[in-house]
Amino acid sequence: MIQKQSQRRGSFPQRAAITAAAWGIGLMAGAGVLAQTPQAYQVEQGEIRAALADAGDPVRGRAVVLSRESGNCFLCHAFPDADGAPPGNLGPEMSGVGARMNAGQLRLRVVDSARVNAQSIMPAYYRIEGLNRVAAAYRGKPLLSAQQVEDVVAYLAQLK
């Protein structure tokens, strides 16, 4: 039983350790993408209407959402097509989210959820200000690149 349990790779901190290592490698290989400082954007009536990068690709977006190294969204949300990755339930289920919200609303949610709900526990994926004690490897870097945000938004938008 010990053997079986300890081989389970699902637990959060172990996964986090793996994540940290993978990010480290990713940084060296593609530092340009990840080190980018978030660009300015405009919030209008609860939306970011203008895209932050090229048109998003839902297939890439799904990969980001389910990836331990980048989005890790399933830590808190269940997705309808998640391939059995065991989801958390700190946040609402994502099925139908593309019908509930338009692209601009989804974009603001992902970019900086605190702009929608100041108490939100959902991390701001495209913000670097107002954070404390960030580990050196991630300091000054947003969780996602502008293109990854667009990809995620494109993926969420088609969950109808």
């Binding site: 349990q5 940290a20 209008e44 526990i121």
Partner: protein
Amino acid sequence: MSLRRLSLGLFAALVAGTAVAQTAVRPAPLKSGIEFTGAEVRALQNDEFANPAMLWVLRGTALWTQPAGKDNRSCASCHGDATTGMKSVATHYPQIDKSSGSLINLEGRIQQCRERRQNASPLKYESEELLGLTAFVRMQSRGMPLAISIDGPARAYFERGRDFYYKRVGQMNLACAHCHQDNWGKKLGPEIISQGHGNPYPGYRLEWQTMGSLHRRFRSCLSGVRAEMLPQGAPEYLDLELYLAWRSGNLPVETPGVRR
């Protein structure tokens, strides 16, 4: 008001929001982390022969009677039989150390005896020896309710620990309280979030495949939210340990615990 002013205002409110003093609260009802694990983990923890942490306790038992340092004295030379000499001692830690006036945890107290009373070299925080001795000493309080004092000079440490507990940290911008106070019982990925008590430590985590200190567990959670980690034994971690011990109310010491 322009959109830009509006959003700047919101941001300022957010930043200010993190500075509001928090009131210390205990989760209700209090539940030890063992209640959130499966039956197999519970069985392991409760079975003296199957509990993998007992290996470290055995090591601590041996160290207790092993002479060390210049004067060749063992812990037992002064404290005698640990089952009586160390009974319930761990329920009062962390506490204010009278000699220095600052906060000390059980690991720190053991180190102090090793250095001052045995004249022996200090042990590394996460060493097998210190884990073993700490687990052995804490086990003499197994099943006894924690009884922490936060009065007098301990108060300032307690308040710092509480502030740490409620402070958002890391790239994921989460505080301990977001998971262990506001969302215990919910799932983070496949993992059920417990109330985050320190009562089973030092303990064996299956995910670590070894024994670890409470401070090692702090580092795991902080690395999970991509926050800076401090070395085990850091003053901030002592503050946090005191806050946690208070927050655990009268939960019993479970050392040597087993967790996923």
